[in-house]
Amino acid sequence: MSEYVVELKDIVKTFPGVVALNHMQLNVKPGEIMGLIGENGAGKSTLIKVLTGVHAADSGQVLVDGEEKHFKNPQEAIHEGIACVYQELNMEALLPITDNIFINKWKKRKSGLLDYAEMNRIAKETMLDLGQDIDVTKPAGTFGMGIQQMVEIAKAVLANAKMIIMDEPTSSLSDNEIEQLFKTCRKLKAQGVGILFVSHKLEELFELCDRVTVVRDGEYIDTRPIAEWDNDSLINAMVGRTLDNQFPKKPGVKSEEPFLKVENLSSIGVLRDVSFEAYGGEILGFSGLVGAGRTETMRAIFGADKIDSGKIYIKGKHARIKSPRDAIGSGIAFLTEDRKGQGLVLPESIGLNLILANMKRFKSGILLDKKKMRAAGEKNVKDLRIKATGLEEKVQQLSGGNQQKVVIGKWVNTDAEIYIFDESTRGIDVGAKVEVYEVMNELVRQGKCVIMVSSELPEILGMSDRIIVMREGKITGEMRRGEENFNEEAIMKAAWEV
């Protein structure tokens, strides 16, 4: 018998062009709660996917109770006692709790009919065991997220899980539900189940975990008993990186008056009193964790989502922005984070996508002017170095980097004053990233206002003149280039600590 219920040794997992896990290791003892923490993109998700059989590792070992396993699919991992409660729950909201628990593993009578009496009894007992005294015959959708999560845990328990992975289990729970979840975790621990607890919230790790493992850039950094960690050491372990010269930052001339002024933007459950100013000739970075409210802030400014209260001023004038159309009319360009879902019409041509946000500029009379469209399109292709066979090529045939350039071209063609880049370099190669930075530099040189939302700290620090940090829908920090606190540690503190 091994000391560990699950042990990962020297795991390497690569995707085309990316090393997602580089000699990663992790181990969890029976009856232990192991915390796992790392920045966005540090490799936590891939690690979980290797553990649960979604991805196969390129090399390295996965040991369960000391025996090497090669999971081909999630079913095999579950069979070996490794269960995962995902962030996004897969609940049949209209079916009773019982059905949700027994989906695919129905208990039947001899006649072949389902034995609901038995299933209800087991479901009730299991939920009770997890500390939830509920009516299991009611539809799952009538219960809150906390209970629904318990259903997932109950499924794991009934499958005799030796280890349960919880991927940011508290992100959508109320304080009360979190308290319940912790109780359940401790109960499972007492029964000898190992738990891998992935969280963005440091205080939760300190409250719940026995040990914590830190990962960064796909690599294993350190594992220590919780008593040997503190806030600073955890954050340092997560950051610990030097900036190199992949950021061709060129400072501009900051405008006297702010181009954009946001006052007390609020949206219940999403944004809390967000106020800031952005100037022409500067890059304002927005940092924070995924879900901190950065994208939501930008969508609110752009009129894509309704807000409950707050005011937006453009160049000193109160702007009533009710729709993206109004925002574009006010001179705002928004390069959305999801370029395929929100930025581009994939089955349409490059030429059409490039004029999409400002078609009236390309009209003569009631018809679209092909000459104007082609001239603008060819200029975009040349300026942005879009690699394509021609303006008629469908956008879906382009690489990620070139697609992103089409999005940039589309917005440059609106002649906006304020450009919001939301995670614009995600998923594109390093060369294309630099080209995106060069576009930002050029906009700044022209005296335009650039807002850059990014989850990558090196990029934010490399390109921003000023950085605003958000956490849980609030602004929790602001740093200026050249000041003492313009560094990763300060950003991480603002992003992670209450």
């Binding site: 752009f302 894509a304 729709s323 993206p324 159309r325 925002a327 574009i328 009319g329 928004f334 959305t336 879902g341 929100q342 930025g343 581009l344 019409v345 994939l346 089955p347 349409e348 059409l352 999409l356 946000a357 400002n358 078609m359 009236k360 390309f362 009209k363 009631i366 018809l367 679209l368 092909k370 021609g390 008629e392 879906q396 045939q397 690489s399 589309k410 609106t414």
Partner: protein, 328 residues
């Protein structure tokens, strides 16, 4: 640029070929098929479906559907008949009221979809179809109403008049198809319709009022169906509320899909739809010439529709595969 135009035309080669083969089969089977008179009658029949298909195409491009087009056409005719029975004997008034009512019904379909957030136009337009079926029977008292010799011959002109046998209605169709082709390919509204179907969210975030684009499509669909209703009056001289449940909608869907439109939206052209409408009309015409029972006609047309949708699915898969290979 030149090359892409060539390949665009090549996309119609299959549809055109199918039409040609069908014509050859009918010509061999029946000696009256290739006569001038028969072809004029085919064009007359095509007119109705071609008009109804115009609206259907717009709905399909936005990744929606308009199942009420056939019922709108019938209702428009019945409304005119009802007014005539009530003593309204002015042709322009009858035409304007019928067309305005049709456009309004389309507008309501659009508003139900965008402002009242019904999940898919399938729901609202299917409901509307039944509402109009009922209304068409109510306003006509469930009786056929004749327009012949009642002093409103003008209303029948569109559907019955010809120039040396060539139907005026088909000339109107050609004009509308040319204008719509320009609208869809060369105006910002037209391109917005394709974009809304290709990616609604990206279109909205590009500052295009996607709701208004959809409302326009459905209102226009209603208007075209109303026009088709007037054509039907000219062809038969009567209106009949029971026609509201004729399979006009499915004929229109078949014309669009055969012509290259897709249920996934973002695709479809006027030229393709015209070819599709011709194929349907030629198919029905040949059956009639060969005295095939209408039950068999229905059966074959049903198979054609299933076949064309299958074609759409296969085309989608092939495109996805080609894309995958091109990227690899």
């Amino acid at each position: 640029m030149k090359k892409s135009k060539g390949s665009n035309l090549a996309a119609y080669a299959g549809t055109f070929g199918a039409l040609l083969i069908l014509c050859i089969i009918w010509a061999v089977s029946h000696d009256r098929f290739m006569t001038y008179n028969n072809w004029m009658s085919i064009l007359k029949q095509t007119s109705f479906n071609a008009l109804v298909s115009t609206g259907m195409l717009l709905a399909l491009i936005t990744a929606g559907i308009d199942l009420s087009v056939g019922a709108v056409a019938t209702f428009a005719a019945c409304l005119a008949g009802c007014l005539l029975n009530m003593g309204v004997e002015s042709t322009p008034v009858l035409i304007i009221v019928a067309l305005a009512a049709s456009a309004c019904i389309g507008l309501i379909n659009g508003l139900l979809l965008t402002k009242l957030h019904l999940p898919h136009p399938f729901v609202s337009t299917l409901g509307m179809k039944n509402v109009l079926w009922g209304l068409a029977l109510i306003v006509t008292g469930s009786k056929m109403i004749s327009f012949v010799n009642r002093g409103v011959d003008g209303i029948m002109w569109l559907g019955s008049a010809t120039i040396k046998g060539f139907p005026i209605s088909f000339i109107v169709v050609i004009v509308i198809y040319v204008l719509m082709h320009i609208m869809l390919t060369r105006t910002s509204l037209g391109r917005s319709i394709y974009c809304a179907g290709g990616n609604m969210e990206a279109t909205r975030l590009s500052g295009i009022n996607a709701d208004n684009v959809l409302i326009f499509c459905f209102a226009f669909s209603g208007l075209m169906a109303g026009l088709a209703g007037l054509v039907s009056i000219g062809r038969s001289g009567i209106c009949n509320g029971a026609n509201a449940i004729q399979p006009y909608d499915t004929d229109a869907i078949a014309a669009c899909i055969i012509g290259g439109a897709s249920f996934r939206g973002g695709k479809g052209t006027m030229l393709g739809t015209m070819l599709g409408a011709l194929i349907i009309a030629v198919l029905r015409n040949g059956f009639t010439l060969l005295s095939v029972a209408s039950s068999w006609q229905n059966l074959v047309l049903g198979l054609v529709i299933i076949g064309s949708v299958l074609l759409d699915v296969v085309r989608g898969r092939m495109a996805a595969n080609a894309l995958r290979k091109a990227k690899a």
